[in-house]
Assembly symmetry: C2
Homo-oligomer: 336 residues x 2
DNA sequence: TTATTCTATGGTAACGATAACATGGGCCAT
DNA sequence: ATGGCCCATGTTATCGTTACCATAGAATAA
């Protein structure tokens, strides 16, 4: 039953249709000069033969892979998934595909990944964050394609960026907490030094507290980033134990914040009456849980869409303009 | 500053090192016959020249892309993300990469995607579910690479599968509900006809209810799959309105179940005392929320790992053995 | 010592598409 | 009618790597 002959090529389709291989090639390319009837005949014959267009050959000859390489810390993060979704959808309109890699929040792993991805000859590369190994950075600097750093505004961008200041976003939340009347405020995040964005949020927290003349030392490290709901809950328990008089907590993500919220419920601590909670990332959980969670919307999907648009502009020869996203503080019931 | 010459090739590295291009090629291939010193010299020269290995040429010549194509309904689903994670990690050990596409729970879209992915000449293709368009199925049947259907046990597998019976898994939950004493049980799912796995769970629910001689007509359709927490909450409100005497509900996913749970809290309905809730998928939310959620663990990551192992076996010329996963009912506080 | 095997390398052609250029016929303007 | 232009198609060479085969010398066996 199984056909063991080797798969047909354009030459086979050409032979069957009585045209040259070049004409078959044109039939498969959207905007090329070819008569309508001929194209249809060719495509019909191709379908009948079971011919499948071979991108690998096309890529080599045309020196265009149709790939955009993307590295994200983890696929298990709704925010990054949204960014990838925005990228993917926007690039699909131009028949470009995403080549995805996971760094596991590790610049060493990122370096390996970048090297591996570049071998596929992507037409642009998108990385998450502005921190890289020395060699990783060098690879990105010397490659001759657009490089876009996202989810951050790097001090020294390699090429382009689409991002926001994590520190400033957290500052907005601290300002809000202080305005509403909270003073003894803590921060729950992951262990220091791995997740760059998490670290920046912690730094932003400390800086904002100092501006208000408040104690910025209530910092709970809850484990390897990204921290889970469970770890957020554990951190909350620890926080109450170490600093029982704390009035509010800023969490590095909504997941940790939700964990903290459930721990409060278990402990019988009323939120927000005796304790306020803020998260980060505007996950769906935050608008459904009771009470709803104050958070920061970083417009994850928009980061992806704008990044894709930037890439397409550059590939079209237009000037690429970097994008500064303005995260939005969303005040909900957990901090009123 | 920018070097505008065109990028170096193996020939350039060969010239600099004083060897043939063939030897350079060997230096870049792990297990090839080449002396250690020579390989090191070549790799050093390559790094210095800024040479980047070109997979596109390699793929064409060797007729091996190093890709495994994967289609999933959505990237925004922790279960499928876990499966992809398992696939990705396991394949990475053999230097294979995943080429990911999103069907948006739509077989029409899946067909387009399959066609697009096959052009990249993957060495295997993994699809989610066993339902495809006619042409999509034909494409998969005629392609000369391993095809693996996942998250389901198709009535007529195209080639291989790694999955489980969604209907049976839900039956286990209904059995549990009945055993514990609930009788008037409802089902919350998405609109009929789009999400295959969701539909199968609904069918499994109805069948199980009938076996117990119970009324299987309390079915709430909550919107386009995948249904969100918010939609789960809305569906719960509707359920209580239409069938006020309902005692328990089986939800198509933990997200919907969590939404239902919060709605109960808002309505002052005690869970599980007056109302039991079950979900599907063993999402993290279910073990953190209060009360914790009864659910079904479908071993999403394991599906990915086993699928990858199956692919590697087949590519190694071994016999590929299909995998039946046994989902596990996890009874938690929401249904005791 | 001689035959045999193994190791390290080189030469050549090919993977399958298409960029670049060439060409012939139809159509329009003058 | 004739030059010029556009459209549809063909010819040739090439993208960068590696499969395949050949070969020289070293190592081992007989």
């Amino acid at each position: 039953m199984s056909n063991t002959r080797k798969p047909p090529t354009m030459a086979d389709v050409a032979r069957v249709t009585g045209v040259s291989p070049m004409t078959v090639s044109r039939a498969f390319k959207a905007d090329s000069l070819i008569s309508k009837e001929r194209r249809e005949a060719i495509l019909r014959a191709a379908e009948e033969l079971g011919y499948v267009f071979d991108s690998t050959a096309s890529n080599l000859r045309s020196q265009k892979s149709g790939f955009v390489a993307v590295t994200i810390p983890s696929i298990n993060n709704a925010n990054f998934a949204d960014t990838v979704g925005g990228l993917s959808d926007t690039l699909a309109a131009r028949d470009m595909q995403i080549l995805l890699g996971y760094t596991n929040y590790n610049t060493q792993e990122e370096e390996r990944l970048i090297e591996q991805l570049l071998r596929r000859k992507p037409q642009a590369i998108v990385v998450t964050g502005g921190k890289h190994t020395e060699r990783g950075r060098r690879l990105l600097e010397t490659v001759h394609i657009p490089v876009i750093e996202t989810w951050d505004i790097p001090a020294e961008p390699i090429d382009h960026y689409v991002g926001f200041s994590n520190a400033n976003a957290v500052r907005d939340m601290v300002d809000h907490f202080v305005r509403v009347g909270y003073r003894r405020i803590a921060f729950i995040g992951g262990d220091v030094g791995r997740d760059t964005r998490g670290s920046e949020r912690r730094i932003g927290f400390a800086a904002a507290m100092q501006v208000h003349g408040l104690d910025a030392s209530r910092l709970i490290a809850a484990g390897l980033p990204p921290i889970s709901m469970r770890e957020g809950a554990n951190a909350m328990a620890k926080l109450i134990e170490i600093y029982p008089d704390t009035e509010a907590v800023v969490c590095v993500s909504d997941l940790a914040a939700y964990g903290a919220l459930t721990e409060c419920r278990r402990l019988g601590v009323p939120v927000p009456e005796r304790f306020a909670i803020g998260g980060f990332g505007n996950y769906e959980i935050g608008e459904v849980c009771v009470p709803t969670l104050t958070t920061i919307n970083a417009f994850a999907r928009e980061i992806g869409v704008r990044t894709a648009e930037l890439i397409l502009d550059i590939l079209d020869g237009k000037q690429g303009v970097d994008v500064r996203i303005s995260p939005e503080l969303i005040v909900r019931d957990s901090s009123r």
